[in-house]
Amino acid sequence: MLTRTFFNQIFLFKPSQIPLSVLSYRSITTAARLKKQLNIAATPRPHIERPAGSDELYKRLCVEVRGHDPAVLESYEKFVRLVSTELDVQLVNVENPPFFTERWTLLRSKFAKKKYWREYEIRTYYKKFHFKHLTGSTASTFLEYAQRNLPEGIMMIVERVRLEPFRDNLVPPPSSTITTTTTTNTATTSEKTSEEQRNS
């Protein structure tokens, strides 16, 4: 249990437990300050119109490609860059995670000769393409084209982050004196967790 000293009360207690008079001594983040200024708890949540049959919105698309040959992955990267500029899809960056290797140390000889061994390994090279701000139809078209041109021996894993409208049944609690922590969820959109699909 923390004693209520001046320092403890400002920095180590939760914001809900800090009395209002002392709260001002603690520098709060820009977001929290803005939320206080804009008085987000009091303003009603704007209702966003989503007509029926409207496209899904993807905040992020992560395409991870794995293969045994780094040269093949590099040529595929060149291809994906060209395609994304042609089809006007925003490629944020291409990440090169370090390769993973699976090793075995086995005897070199059929019989005896325990002193002589041999090392074998299998390497998996990775490459990650990060895209942003795609619609559902753009994403499916782009992915279809990229997957049709996937070379043999290359594996693809796709992660998508979709934007969903905020659920109407989630309502902030009735307004109290200190509501900085509870108002973090009143953003107008939220993110749905990703889905995975594999190919090749």
């Binding site: 794995r66 293969g67 045994h68 299998i122 997957q147 070379p151 043999e152 021996g153 290359i154 090749s200």
Partner: protein, 174 residues
């Protein structure tokens, strides 16, 4: 049929006898081998012959230790990657495919069969000699594609390249 056989005999007159002993006791665990030719052997790495006339193709000259450096594999699939699926089935399918092609295309393939797997398709490639009439070759292509697609339940395509005769692919004599 008779003409076909005659052509084959003339074409394969350079068949050399392999100097390596093909005794059935080569890889036995209960007989301790001591002779130099059988004990100091390495997979796919031949030793020099006395007359230096054992033919090797370019692919055979690249010994297995160069795989990943200057030599690639003969099958391309994702089963051995991290989180790769269908490892055992792919290998057994590959073995079956090689044996099938070896048996169906009688002494026609002069290179190893290259097996590529793209989505659910299997694409076979290789070098073939022009010992038979092109019409027979077209029949062989169609027959292999049909019967392999039916057996393996995946679309199978053959993309072969032809070569005049076997001497064209010999790279060196070992």
């Amino acid at each position: 049929m008779n003409t076909y056989l005659k052509l084959n005999l003339l074409g394969n007159c350079f068949q050399q006898r392999c100097y390596l002993s093909t005794s059935p006791i080569l890889h036995s665990w209960f007989v301790r081998l001591t002779n130099v030719t059988q004990v100091n052997t390495e997979a796919a790495t031949p030793k020099h012959t006395r007359k230096r006339n054992y033919p090797l193709t370019y692919e055979q000259r690249q010994f297995p230790k160069l795989i990943g450096h200057t030599k690639t594999w003969n099958t391309f699939n994702t089963s051995n990657l991290r989180d790769g699926k269908r490892k055992a089935e792919t290998v057994s399918d590959d073995l079956f495919l090689r044996q099938f092609i070896y048996g169906t295309w009688h002494s026609l393939f002069v290179s190893e069969l290259i097996i590529k797997r793209r989505h659910n398709m299997i694409i076979l490639s290789g070098l073939v000699t022009r010992t038979i009439h092109p019409r027979r070759m077209y029949f062989l292509i169609g027959y292999t594609e049909e019967i392999l697609s039916a057996l393996l339940k995946t679309p199978v395509k053959i993309e072969i390249q032809t070569v005049e005769n076997k001497e064209d692919v010999i790279f060196t004599y070992w």
